[in-house]
């Protein structure tokens, strides 16, 4: 069992091996949260690297009395994912990309995204969660996947506790409508 507090102290004192241990311990969780929120492995990887770098560089700003290190990382990750969503709203105007249109040679070697997707079998629940609006998707992932309390969710989502609760309930109601036939089959299977 890793002692996260001790690792943080060692990294604050400048021990790079402690930073590496912190990184390796939280890498998958941060990546998966970003992937769940963005639905895209390439973006998720960029966001996760950025969030982990930010957390490690600003380790002196982390206060263990306020939140666990994992919660702090989730605050940073959700914030970065929102930034990414905001940027997606604007059309990507790149002169160099426009000039290179039609000159790209297709890459036959699978990239990180296709490698990741090949390894998945998506469930209907996953598709239904991805179809939710951004605030509801954040709420359902933080509650059902990450298992955060409503208080932690309020900190991560930057909203009051009742708002976090109502988002979870609303997201659940929408999922219930979408999954109604599938869930009945699965529940019957579960009982049998």
């Amino acid at each position: 069992m890793l002692d996260i507090g001790a690792l943080i102290q060692r990294w604050q004192a400048g021990d790079e091996r402690a930073a590496e241990a912190l990184y390796n311990h939280h890498r998958d969780s941060v990546f998966r949260l970003a992937y769940g929120l963005l639905g895209n492995a390439v973006d998720a990887e960029e966001v996760a690297q950025d969030a982990l770098t930010y957390a490690l560089v600003n380790i002196n700003r982390y206060d263990p009395d306020r939140a666990s290190f994992a919660t702090w990382l989730h605050i940073i990750t959700v914030s970065r994912c929102r930034d990414r969503h905001r940027r997606r709203r604007w059309p990507n105007l790149s002169l160099t990309a426009w000039l290179q249109r039609g000159r790209d040679i297709p890459d036959l070697v699978p990239g990180p995204e296709s490698r990741t997707i090949q390894a998945e079998t998506r469930s209907q629940v996953w598709e239904a969660v991805q179809a939710l609006s951004r605030p509801l998707r954040e709420a359902i992932l933080l509650r059902y996947w990450a298992g955060h309390t409503y208080r932690e969710m309020a900190e991560i989502l930057d909203c009051p506790v009742p708002t976090a609760q109502s988002r979870v309930r609303l997201a659940y109601k929408q999922l219930r409508v979408t999954l109604a036939p599938a869930s009945l089959v699965d529940l019957r299977g579960e009982k049998a």
Binding site: E16, T53, L56, V57, G111, P112, W126, L141, W145, D186
Partner: protein, 262 residues
């Protein structure tokens, strides 16, 4: 509770979002009602399905081999000035509070000066640069905190105190702006109505209009102070609170420059 429980109640129950009293009332109903127990079990089953499916789906997703510590290690090396900057950032809450308190004192001085001028019968269309200076002083900690809260929107006593000072400061500026708008209306009316440039009946009509205009402005001010206070109280230290302060200060700055157009 004789009738069956609603879906809303069952969803609240299974998501643990009810008060203790509501939960106890439902517990006693559920103990006697197999129909509601079955419906609750259905909700809990669906919740388990969502939970397990998400765990299973995301367990299969792994980052590419390129995502490793070595890729970010060079960015973690901290040169001397960067470490110094990191240390100096710890002083930010105290510095922000000092700037905000200075802004509050400046805003109060501007307000008192305007009220004094009103008391001796002068028309204070401006209290000099003091309110504008106060606005700028308020904007500094608000912008700093808005930026910082991008990643650390956690509540703290310091941010609560700072929010209180800013709330009081923007309220003082609001009071000053009521006087300002009243005087602007007075000036506009005297210009429009004055036939000979002297202070005849038109002068008193303009004073009366200014006074009446102050009444709805005061009501709006009270509503904004109470509503804003409640909003900041619930969200002190959060990004949304700093954002609202930002918009408030921007609006107050815009009103402050209005006299330049009159």
């Amino acid at each position: 509770m004789n009738s069956h429980l609603s879906d809303k109640q069952l969803i609240g129950y299974s998501h643990a979002t009810l008060t203790d009293a509501e939960r106890e009332a439902m517990d006693s109903h559920l103990a006697d009602c197999p129909h509601c127990r079955a419906r609750l079990a259905e909700h809990e089953g669906l919740q388990r399905l969502i939970h397990h499916s998400l765990l299973a789906d995301l367990r299969t997703v792994r980052p590419s081999p390129d995502m490793k510590f070595a890729a970010i290690a060079p960015r973690l090396k901290r040169p001397g000035f960067a470490a110094l900057w990191q240390q100096s950032r710890q002083l930010f809450p105290a510095a922000a509070a000092m700037v905000a308190v200075t802004g509050l004192v400046v805003a109060l001085t501007g307000l008192i000066e305007s009220v004094n001028r009103l008391a001796v019968g002068l028309h204070p269309l401006s209290a000099g640069p003091l309110p504008t200076v106060a606005c700028v002083l308020f904007a500094i900690p608000v912008m700093g905190n808005y930026y910082e809260s991008r990643t650390v929107p956690l509540r703290s006593v310091a941010s609560g105190v700072l929010a209180f000072i800013l709330w009081a400061g923007t309220a003082v500026l609001g009071l000053y702006e009521i006087i300002l708008v009243r005087e602007m209306l007075f000036r506009i009316c005297t210009r429009l109505w004055s036939r000979s440039g002297g202070y005849g009946m038109d002068y008193w009509r303009a004073v009366a209009l200014g006074n009446w205009a102050a009444l709805p402005l005061a009501i709006v001010w009270i509503a904004l102070v109470i509503g804003g206070g409640e909003y900041h109280y619930k969200r002190a230290g959060q990004r949304s609170s700093w954002k609202l302060f930002g918009w408030t200060i921007t609006a107050e700055l815009l009103i402050l420059i209005l006299p330049l157009l009159v």
